[in-house]
């Protein structure tokens, strides 16, 4: 096997990427379980109640995306800094800590009632559990903080003495922000309104704030590598993109402060600023297409370029368009907490963060596996099939949930409305269609995994 890595320590990214893909499979399986429970109410009840499947689904999503971000950082920071990673050993140790924490937490969710888990992990001493996305036991949260601090230390010790590029500095800033805002998950006041207010500092300020820096920097890196676009140009774009993320996204947090008992000025403030949040996503679309359109070289890894363009389009659609759809207070008044929210959540997470992680995996894996700068043509062909299967089925999942959501709002929220459970029955057809699209998504994911094992038929490839 030929080794094609510029810096040997980049190799630590590989286990991170493999774990990410493995957990992604688990996430989707639990998504399908829930999708079935939506229409077949007592499926797997009481063994796996819906709330348990949901925790597994969303927490696996977050954990595997974090694996992807960390892998991306370990891969690109040495190359950008032009020196070996400060401590590959630490990176590998943290990998195992994070994997153990993640897997044990999932096992905990599945094996004992949640209240028991809260009790045996000592939630009463520092109650942080039982809030959406932050369901992890407090000790798991502490584990996450330790892993994040180790990561930041390792990266800082690599970047500081090395070359500082806009890409690695922006990535580093994003990761620091990720760690800092996660600390708010430890703040859980008795006052429900205050709890909700600061809960969004983790959730919103992640996906519509600091994660956009991670997204932008990985995208910029991959575009530089695959299209040969001028770094000066990309740097400028990256600065403007992240400037727009913060300028719109910080006050944009207000789109979550309409109906939770906070001051009413958040209705105009949140509406106006969040309505501008699609701008940075649209700029990423322009950047990706601009770079590929004016490319100075034809990189042999066509699959990566497809993923990068896909990220540009789908993040704008999911976050930008589907976000805008329900972000103005008068609209959100009716759509708040319905299937419209779920539709947007799926396409935004997929288009922005799932796709950027797959983009960097697609780019880096051939180097990490020592097979040159791209997988063989048949493997890439398979990978592109998985791109279309997953992306198109996600579009359909989003459309079906949007259909369900519009009917739900119409039947349940207007006039006197009909009871929630009655309405859910009436829109069950959309949930069946969503489940069918979900099965196609799973097939796409399996095809994606198969693409790593597809061998070339031609004896030797350039």
């Amino acid at each position: 096997m030929i080794n094609t890595l510029k810096y040997q320590s980049q190799a630590v990214a590989k286990p991170y990427f493999i774990a990410a893909i493995g957990l992604f499979v688990g996430q989707v399986l639990f998504g399908l379980i829930m999708g079935l429970q939506y229409v077949w109410g007592d499926f797997l009840f009481p063994e796996i109640p819906f709330n348990v499947a949901r925790m597994v689904h969303t927490n696996l999503l977050i954990v595997w995306l974090l694996f992807g971000f960390m892998g991306a950082a370990y891969y690109l920071v040495p190359e950008e800094s032009q020196r070996e990673l400060h401590s590959p050993k630490l990176a590998i140790a943290l990998f195992w800590v994070f994997l153990a924490a993640g897997v044990l937490t999932i096992i905990g969710y599945l094996s004992v009632p949640y209240a028991t888990l809260a009790q045996i992990t000592g939630n009463e001493f520092l109650p942080t559990m039982g809030r959406e996305f932050l369901e992890q036991p407090t000790i798991t949260k502490i584990g996450i903080v330790i892993v994040a601090l180790g990561l930041l230390y390792n990266l800082a010790m690599t970047i500081l003495p090395g070359r500082k590029t806009v890409v690695n500095v922006v990535l580093m800033t994003g990761l620091i922000g990720l760690a800092v805002f996660f600390l708010f998950s430890f703040y859980n006041p008795d006052n429900l309104v205050k709890d909700k207010y600061f809960w969004w500092w983790v959730v919103h300020l992640w996906v519509e704030g600091v994660w956009e820096l991670i997204l932008g920097s990985i995208l910029a890196y991959v575009l530089i590598k695959t299209t040969g676009i001028d770094r000066e140009v990309v740097d400028k774009w990256l600065y403007v993109i992240i400037a727009m993320s913060f300028i719109t996204g910080i006050i944009g947090t207000g789109h979550h402060y309409f109906w939770i008992g906070t001051a009413e000025y958040w209705q105009p403030l949140g509406s106006i600023f969040s309505a501008l949040e699609p701008i940075p996503f649209f700029m990423m679309t322009l950047l990706a297409f601009g770079a590929v359109g004016k490319r100075k070289r034809d990189h042999p890894n066509k699959a990566t370029v497809l993923w990068a363009l896909g990220t540009g389009v789908m993040s704008f659609l999911g976050a930008g368009v589907w976000g805008f759809l329900h972000t103005l207070a008068p609209v959100n008044y009716f759509t708040h907490g319905t299937q419209i929210t779920a539709a947007h959540g799926h396409m935004a997470f997929y288009g922005a963060y799932v796709m950027i992680v797959i983009t960097i995996i697609s780019y880096a894996m051939p180097f990490l596996r020592g097979t040159g700068n791209a997988a063989n043509r048949r493997a890439q062909f398979t990978e592109m099939w998985s791109f279309w299967l997953m992306t198109i089925s996600m579009v359909f999942i989003t459309l079906f949930l949007t259909g369900a959501g519009i009917l739900q709002v119409w039947l349940q929220r207007f006039d006197d409305g009909q009871p929630f459970m009655v309405v859910q029955d009436k829109i069950a057809a959309f949930y069946w269609l969503r489940e069918a699209a979900g099965v196609v998504f799973l097939i796409g994911l399996i095809v994606y995994i198969i693409s790593f094992f597809v061998k070339s038929k031609e004896p030797a490839e350039a």
Binding site: Y114, E232, G261, A263, H336, R413, F420
Partner: protein, 144 residues
Amino acid sequence: MSEIFSKSMARNIYFGGSAFFIFLFLGLTWHTVKVLPETDNSAALTEEVILGKKVWEDNNCIGCHTLLGEGAYFAPELGNVYKRFGNSTEAIKGFIKSRPVNGIPGRRSMPQFNLSEEELNAIAEFLKYSSEIDTSNWPPNIQG
């Protein structure tokens, strides 16, 4: 972007813009928290309600339900369930207590949590407290 718009200009917009909006957000947060008691029903935050919030969290009710529109979309909104149940904490307790262990065949099911009488009182009081938070008239109707 042309030569007139330089990289350092872009960087300055990033630093300047971010700093400005971070401070604005902190200022707004300070003010929001200050005026919160006017709307957040914190006067009703008794020991019992606080215990109720803990029961809510320890049983992950948010994993199926929304509360003030946030959470999961599998089961009814509970921010206003106290009102939907005719302003009755007893009705809430009765509902939670009576969930069959093995669910309801074919219907979306809620687990039997085996809560103590104290916990039942607390969760019901917590849901009452939630329903009295001033949410700018949300949800649009009693169905949540």
